[in-house]
């Protein structure tokens, strides 16, 4: 089987890559810096005897050029799914920031993903396959920090809801994981602000793999964030504005 993993070089993307390789799938890995993918390719090919094609591609700038992916797909078995464990934000992401970064954040977290889904939809519809997107609890309710990132991720959740609705009669499963704090480098420095323990990405990768073709729609992980997702929108403004998170 063949999967594309976008944002495979670190964090959840790398963990998913290792899980999919362990299960003997061939992979096309996409990252903005191919230097991070080459060691991953070597390691997984040596240990699991699978085929991995690393592709350097930045989602910050559109339009995207899918030529390399298309060429790579022609050398592998038919495509079985695409996963988008990709995200981009920064401390500068507050209202009023530079236009160029605003565009890059929107492109990486929303527009490029929509474009790639649109491009490969026809191919994926041909067989039983899956498309998995990843959102964030930061998008549950807008706050000062990660303003553009949260907006993009909320947009992405909506896009995946639409996609699921549109693809309901096809063999393509659409899933969207809303992620709480994870034990990745992004969460590494945020220790002092965490109200919830960071979840293990290896465990999450196993869950994602075991649910691969299930029609689960939107999944909140870790589960305890479900309550936050449910209640936070109803917290009165007078209280919400005082919460610093």
């Amino acid at each position: 089987m063949t999967f594309i993993i976008v944002g495979a070089s670190a964090g959840l993307g790398r963990s998913l890559t290792e899980k999919f390789a362990l299960e003997k799938n061939d992979l096309i890995l996409i990252s903005s810096d191919v230097r991070d993918l080459i060691p991953l390719k070597s390691d997984l090919e040596i240990r699991y005897k699978i085929k991995i094609i690393p592709i350097e591609m930045s989602f910050k700038k559109i339009p995207l050029d899918f030529t390399k992916i298309n060429d790579s797909l022609s050398t592998l078995s038919p495509l079985d799914g695409i996963l988008f464990p990709i995200g981009y934000s920064g401390n500068e992401d507050v209202p009023g920031m530079d236009d160029a970064i605003t565009i890059e954040i929107f492109n990486t977290n929303l527009i490029s993903i929509c474009m790639m889904v649109n491009h490969f939809l026809v191919l994926l519809k041909e067989r039983k396959s899956t498309i998995i997107g990843f959102g964030s609890v930061a998008a549950i309710r807008g706050r000062s920090r990660n303003a553009t990132y949260a907006a993009a991720k909320r947009g992405l959740e909506s896009f995946f809801e639409s996609l699921r609705h549109y693809m309901q009669k096809s063999n393509v499963t659409i899933q969207f994981y809303v992620l709480g704090y994870l034990d990745t480098n992004l969460g590494f420095s945020g220790q002092d602000q965490l109200y919830f323990r960071r979840a293990d990405v290896k465990r999450l990768s196993e869950i994602i793999y075991s649910n691969l073709y299930k029609d689960l729609g939107t999944i909140v992980y870790p589960k305890k964030w479900k309550l936050v997702k449910l209640l936070l929108p109803f917290v009165p403004w007078q209280i919400f504005k005082k919460i610093n998170f």
Partner: protein, 438 residues
């Protein structure tokens, strides 16, 4: 300068005698690793060193555990190129399937290859296999000022990095020589001995064994010096092709409020353990359990020292001085009756350079309870080491004073000069390097 993705972490060394909170980075992408950070810094693998070698006050700790991949494998030459953060466990999980192994391994599976290089570790029979440096074909070293450099044997930087405590820069990759794995099992035979010298003599008869070590009771309460020699040989074939590597091999996070060990309990334990081991004629163990005894009884042995921890010193005595050294040491122990619990022995060989712990002789490990009487006794051991031209293993003894290391390692000053030449601003430092004036 602002360094991405850092936090403050409290680090403690394995013997639990030093705790420091300092800035911690765990890079997961090459661009973070190769950042030109000019802060004082030190690389860290799994952080399992007895001494505070991978952290220090106001020193940025750069943990390399995400750089843990196998990069190249040459089946014919039996060589691999790996990133330095790969653990022995991960490497062996793969290499056992290829029926290959690293002949030199320290006692704990979560130790990284970078750690093995920085401490120039030894394995289960250093007389036969030497130390880790003999299996390193080249290393890649990163320094914020010098960038990436490939360092090969017979260069001073190579010799200074092997056993160099991570002070020459960040070891990013290494090419290693593997050996054919003859079997998935090791047959271990234990033989009772009455004195340390008996073990040394027995080593000569079994110098070609895969595993060769001795363990003696260190307590003077009863049965002092009594012990056993363990000789391990590979079985002849692959029994069931099941290498039985356990999933969970991380250290148990248990802290006893007080030490279970005292002169009586340790004597009783050592005597019982000796009788148990020697009563079994031969035992067959899978290779993973044989290579990594720290995942069994030995791990509990250290947990039972309690929250105050323990002190270990490891001494390499020249083959020509061993008899005199043992006589003087046992006389001193009998006279002073320290909180010494266990004495371990291994035969050694090697060509000693810079801070490397290797030469032809016998290595002796002394495990003490961390107590006031131990702190009073250890300087007497230091004097003994210096007077017998022995060398202390820096990576095992967190209280080693500078003057002892300076006296015992003939190339101490040359090592410092290489550091200065390679790193004029001396950005790489740790608690132990500062303690030793390196």
């Amino acid at each position: 300068m602002v360094i991405a993705y850092t936090r403050h972490t409290t680090f403690t060394n394995f013997d639990k005698t030093v705790s420091i909170t300092t800035l911690h980075q765990r890079p997961d992408r090459i661009r973070f690793l190769e950042e030109k950070i000019t802060n004082f810094q030190i690389p860290r693998g799994s952080g399992l060193s007895y001494v505070p070698a991978s952290f220090g006050q106001d020193v940025l700790v750069r943990e390399l555990t995400h750089f843990n991949r196998i990069l190249e494998f040459d089946k014919e030459q039996k060589t691999i190129v790996v990133e330095s953060g790969i653990t022995l466990k991960k490497l062996l999980e793969w290499s056992f399937k290829e029926k290959l192994f690293l002949p030199v391994q320290p006692g704990y599976p979560e130790i990284t290859i970078g750690g093995c290089i920085a401490a120039n570790v030894h394995g289960k029979n250093p007389r036969k296999y030497g130390s880790f440096k003999e299996y390193v074909i080249w290393i890649e070293l990163f320094h914020p000022k010098n960038g990436l450099r490939k360092i090969e044997p017979n260069s001073e930087l190579f010799d200074a990095t092997l056993g160099g405590l991570g002070l020459t820069g960040i070891i990013t990759k290494a090419k290693l020589q593997l050996h054919d794995l003859p079997s998935d099992r090791i047959i271990i035979q234990s033989k009772k001995v009455d004195s340390i010298m008996d073990s040394v003599e027995m080593f000569e008869k079994h110098s070609n064994a895969e595993m060769l070590s001795a363990q003696h009771n260190g307590s003077t309460f009863m049965n002092f010096e009594k012990g056993f020699v363990q000789v391990g040989l590979f079985a002849k074939d692959f029994h069931d092709n099941n290498m039985a590597i356990p999933k969970k091999t991380t250290m148990k996070n248990i802290q006893m409020p007080i030490s279970f060990w005292n002169k009586f309990t340790i004597s009783l334990f050592n005597s019982t353990y000796r009788n148990m081991e020697a009563s079994r004629d031969k035992i067959e163990k899978n290779i993973f359990d044989s290579f990594f005894p720290y995942k069994g009884t030995a791990e509990w042995f250290y947990i039972l020292f309690g929250k105050k921890g323990f002190r270990q010193c490891q001494i390499l005595i020249d083959k020509n001085n061993i008899r005199n050294f043992i006589y003087d040491l046992t006389s001193l122990i009998k006279k002073e009756k320290p909180d010494l619990h266990l004495i371990g022995l291994k035969p050694f060989k090697g060509n000693q350079k810079f801070l490397q712990y290797c030469k032809d002789g016998v290595s002796m490990t002394l495990d003490f309870k961390n107590s006031f009487s131990t702190s009073q006794f250890l300087p007497k051991i230091d004097k003994l080491i210096m007077s017998h031209d022995a060398i202390p293993y820096i990576i095992k003894d967190s209280r080693l004073p500078k003057n002892v290391v300076k006296k015992c390692y003939p190339q101490y000053d040359e090592f410092r000069n290489i550091l200065k030449k390679n790193d004029p601003d001396r950005v790489f430092k740790s608690y132990i390097s500062q303690q030793l004036g390196l």
